[in-house]
Amino acid sequence: MPEKEPLFELRDVTKTFGGLTVADRLNLHVDEGEIVSLIGPNGAGKTTVFNLVTGLYRPDSGEILFEGRNIVGLAPHRITQLGIARTFQTLRLFLNMTVKENVMAAAYGHTRSTVFEAIFRLPRARREEREISQLADEKLAFFGQRLAGYRHQQQAYNLSYANRRRLEIARAMATNPRLLLLDEPAAGMNPAETLELTELIGRLRSEGGYTVFVIEHDMHVVEGISDRVVALDHGVKIAEGSYEQVATDPRVIEAYLGLQGAA
């Protein structure tokens, strides 16, 4: 298996809500430069994994390692500052801020100027402000015409559904992460947009240099992007491997279709 240390790793992570076990001694890893997909039927605990990783939930037991460091118990904003950024399945943009401001706001973690520097417009505040603005332009340009030009100054709620998903990704990119967690990025997109997204995720690695861990339902997307696929059901890892291996795994088919499908 991995010769070098993985970028990110879950070791025996367990989480229960009341009597419900949503993650059961889960082991996962993502190597630097990989694109890994997490699949599973509804309620399998995929988003829970993201919530555990980003610190929104605290695991009952187990370790979550990022660059070899245990990040369990850190505040979510600290984890993001360390280099893990996510998007939300339910879309949680800052709706009443402009598109560009959405992206600029996410640069908070790696800027340093204080309130007083801002009030008196001291050199560092001015410089950082220029840098953030440039960074936002850069990240938005990643999406080509989709988020270009006049859209920068539009309120986020003016965007179409697909563009909101793109803006979520741009916002996550602005935190300067090494690992991007994308939660169902293709949900609600039409076929053409889905195709475009598949290509985009590839570019996130090749041009952006990000490692990508993605939850996705659309099997065409999963097939198109994944180096490796992990399947979950009821908080348990039931299969792992290449897309072909996982897609033909009887346990995965059973989880999706029920027993009859496997028979």
């Binding site: 809500f17 988003t47 919530n51 929104l56 939300f88 339910t90």
Partner: protein, 324 residues
């Protein structure tokens, strides 16, 4: 009041009794907060002022029927009438407030209904000030039903029903406790057993899902406001009977304390509201007795902060899981 050097049993029992009576009053107010918060996640700042209006309605009925010195009817039906009128008026007021100040804001940012509530509270308070003036109005309940009210001979409401270690427990206190208990039981039955109660619980759990199950959520919310405000109206009359004085600003502090009671008990929980009311009432009574009256409000404030820091979900509340 000077600090007692030796433990004074009489004083202690007196304060205990006062605290429990006061607590049942706060409990009734807390119920209204708690129910509305449970169903709308809205802090109804105007609730305390609804309670104040209730006290004034009771006063109005009393005055219309001849006033405390020479009531036209017997005192038992008079008190019943005062309660009924205040409860009905407050219930309706609650429904109207909901209809005009909160319903248009169902899907607004969370801060909007809070500000609207603040506006309603301020509006009611000052309307009462303009209509009734700044002076205290007295129920004069201690002479109510007395044979010689002009000589300030105490009436039957102050008659001792029980005597515990030389401490009289007056009829009026018994009436307050019994009424509170009755209302509590009725409310518990209503929420647990009836169709309306089920609809309320469903709505507070998930408003959208309840609406899809065919529950008229607007109506359920309106009836929640009706019941909550009705209880506040009853509490208002109780206050008037117990302390004999009503004024336009009485709702503000009582509202704060009622809310504290709801938080202490666990907001959204009916027995919690009652328990919280008792805690607040006792704390206020003992603080007033042993530390002096000016410290009672600050003590209640301290309790609120303490509970929020140590156990934000309250004594009987449950912690909700946040869904992402």
């Amino acid at each position: 009041m000077p600090l007692p050097l030796a433990f004074n049993e009489e004083l202690f029992i007196q304060l205990l009794v006062n605290g429990v009576t006061l607590g049942s009053l706060y409990g009734l107010i807390a119920l209204g907060y708690s129910m509305v918060y449970g169903i709308l996640k809205l802090l109804n700042f105007a609730h305390g002022d609804v309670y104040m209006i209730g006290a004034f309605v009771g006063y109005g009925v009393l005055t219309l029927l001849g006033g405390p010195l020479s009531p036209n009817i017997a005192i038992a039906p008079l008190i019943v009438l005062m309660f009924l009128a205040a409860m009905l008026a407050c219930g309706l007021l609650g429904v109207v407030i909901e209809r005009f100040a909160y319903r248009p804001l169902r899907d607004a940012p969370r801060i909007a209904p809070l500000i609207s509530a603040l506006g309603v509270s301020f509006f009611l308070q000052n309307s009462a000030l303009l209509l009734f003036g700044a002076q205290f109005r007295s129920y004069d309940s201690f002479v109510l039903g007395s044979k010689n009210p002009e000589f300030f001979e105490p009436g039957p409401l102050t008659d001792p029903v029980f005597v515990v270690k030389h401490v009289n427990i007056q009829l009026i206190q018994v009436i307050v406790l019994a009424t509170t208990a009755g209302l509590m039981v009725a409310l518990t039955v209503l929420v647990a057993k009836t169709q309306t109660g089920k609809a309320m619980r469903a709505t507070s759990y998930d408003r959208e899902a309840a609406a899809m199950m065919g529950i008229d959520t607007d109506r359920v919310i309106a009836s929640t406001f009706f019941i909550g405000s009705l209880l506040a109206g009853a509490a208002g009359v109780m206050f008037g009977l117990l302390f004999s004085q009503v004024f336009h600003f009485m709702g503000f502090l009582a509202g704060l304390k009622g809310f504290t009671a709801a938080v202490v008990g666990g907001i959204g929980s009916i027995p919690g509201a009652m328990l919280g009311g008792l805690v607040v009432g006792l704390a206020e009574s003992f603080a007033a007795g042993y530390l002096g009256g000016r410290w009672s409000d600050l003590t209640v404030f301290g309790i609120l902060i303490l509970v929020l820091l140590i156990r934000p979900s309250g004594l009987l509340g449950t912690r909700a899981i946040q869904k992402v």
